[in-house]
């Protein structure tokens, strides 16, 4: 019962936060003072009649609050409005580009935990050896290189060694899809790998030094069982939390990586729309990002609540 109450409460909170964010974004956009009519009409010369028609069509003649309710109301109907620059529904623009971005994040989510947990465990088990130091230093460097720089270096290496690599794939088959996304995904993952790796290492060392591990060693359990059966199991849940939080960071990361690798994803759409003052798209994408981010946080909190009943009490 308590769990259900906790669940409903968290859901309710998330919805409030989401609505507040949407209002902030909407207000910021309207405060900007940029005249959207110019972008809609392509920046050319226009007759007063055309300008008047556009004002009515896009509800610019209505008060701000009414415009907000038009917008948010339509969003709940799945209608994010129409792009000023490309005269397509924002949903079409986003949907087409979403597969690239989702692909990037999924591949990155496959690479990150595997490499990071493996590296972190190796580092913890081999604590204070040359291998540990090497991994620690590399992870620190990985953490410090901006993903766009990794991207540029990768493109340099790729085009030097495999000059014929495809730039124009349309992501039609899975193989091509994977080929074009693997390098950007690696560039996107590096700093996340470093973060997860460092946490895995710390948690594992913590666990390995704890009493029950010493106890298990004393009992004569095999090293392997101690690591995987006990220490790793206990270190896993904080590690997975971090991975979850990193998905949020990845959303911003994709913007950079897509820009460097010239990929048609939502990130490059966001930058293009900002540069073109294409507000419906900027608003729609910002809302999408926030939705994903808030949902992930909700899921993490709730799964924590299920695992650890103490949290339910604390949070409420």
């Amino acid at each position: 019962m308590a769990l259900r109450k906790f669940f409903i409460k968290r859901l309710f909170q998330s919805i409030i936060v989401f609505l507040a964010c949407s209002a902030i974004i909407f207000t910021l956009v309207r405060l900007s003072g940029v005249n959207p009519i110019t972008s809609i009409l392509g920046g050319g010369k226009e007759t007063p009649e055309a300008i008047a028609a556009v004002r009515i069509k896009y509800h610019f003649d209505q008060p701000l609050l009414v415009q907000y309710f038009f917008w948010i109301g339509n969003i709940f109907k799945g209608n994010f409005g129409e792009s000023y620059k490309f005269l397509q529904p924002v949903t079409t623009l986003i949907m087409e580009r979403l597969k690239v971005t989702t692909g990037l994040i999924l591949i990155s989510l496959m690479i990150t935990p595997l490499t990071a947990i493996a590296g972190g465990m190796l580092s913890a088990v081999k604590k204070n050896t040359w291998l540990d130091r090497f991994i620690s230093i590399s992870s620190l460097v990985m953490l410090s290189i901006p993903s766009f720089l990794t991207g540029i270096l990768m493109i340099f290496i790729i085009s030097t060694f495999t000059p014929g690599i495809s730039f124009v794939g349309s992501f039609q088959n899975l193989g091509e899809f994977f080929l074009r996304l693997i390098f950007p995904a690696i560039a996107l993952s590096l700093s996340n790998i470093a973060i997860v790796l460092r946490i895995t290492r710390n948690k594992m060392i913590e666990q390995l030094n704890s009493n029950y591990v010493l106890n298990a060693t004393a009992k004569g359990l095999s090293f392997r069982r101690i690591i995987f059966g006990h220490a790793f199991k206990n270190a896993l849940s904080p590690i997975l939390t971090i991975v979850g939080i990193q998905i949020g960071a990845m959303l911003s990361g994709t913007v950079l990586v897509e820009n460097v690798f010239a990929l048609p994803g939502v990130g490059s759409l966001l930058v293009d729309s900002i540069k073109a003052s294409d507000y419906p798209v900027v608003q729609g994408l910002a809302l999408l990002f926030i939705f994903v981010f808030v949902s992930i946080n909700l899921i993490i909190d709730i799964s924590y609540g299920i695992i650890d009943p103490r949290i339910r009490v604390n949070k409420s």
Binding site: C21, L31, S32, S144, L149, L256, V271, I274, I290, F293
Partner: protein, 280 residues
Amino acid sequence: MRRKLILKLKNQPLLAPSISIPFLILAIFVTGAIFAPFLATHDPNRLDLANTLLMPSRDHLLGTDNEGRDIFSRLLFGFRPTLLGAIGVVGLASIVGVFLGMVCGYFEGLIDTIVMRLWDINLAFPTLLLAFVFVACFGKSLMNVVFALGIIFMPLITRLTRSLVLTEKNKTYVEAARSLGYSHLRILFVHIFPNCIQTILVQVAISLANAILDLSALSFLGLGVQPPTADWAVMLQEGKASFLSSPVVVLAPGIAIILVIVSINILSDGLNTYQASGKE
């Protein structure tokens, strides 16, 4: 005697290599940025189309870029906007964040709830997204980006300060101060604040590294520092196309960014350990 001195120095955590080396690197870069007008060999914005993409030589220490500008001089000047911007971001975030954190932690109650709920909303924006929206609405410029990042960085510092104040305020020295009848403000800023400052400073150092990373990301996307201003991220964006013919164009600012961030990260790691050892 001498041996003992060396041993003593070695045990002095502030002189440990994990603190002194990154500090030295940072000092070099910051000095270079401050004294850029005196150290630069050329005008960083002076074009020379007859001498584009030159290799490093005595005249051009790091060669020239695709518009014939001296890379070494641009590198010196190029740290300025990012450094100033990052200091602006962290300064703004710390001043507001520490103040709010202290007030919330000390008084709790309604103000605490309001501020914390506001920051919950702020934290619901994925990193950089608020900066993107800000730039979209108010135009591409370093000022706007600094302001947006400042707001983004506030919740972390507020929360940290708040939790520190929450633990500190129940300690005996605070009770003692209270029983002496000192004002809340005095207790907060004269008694509690000095006990929190160390932990906050480590967070500020980490934030500085993140601010530099985020600022260069935004400038790289063409939303922050605007060309032709010399800036490392702008240099990377402009040099990207000539990377194949002249790698220095990208490597120089690239390595500079990496060195600075790695140094700050090692430094904050080192300070963390130093602090931990101090507490023991």
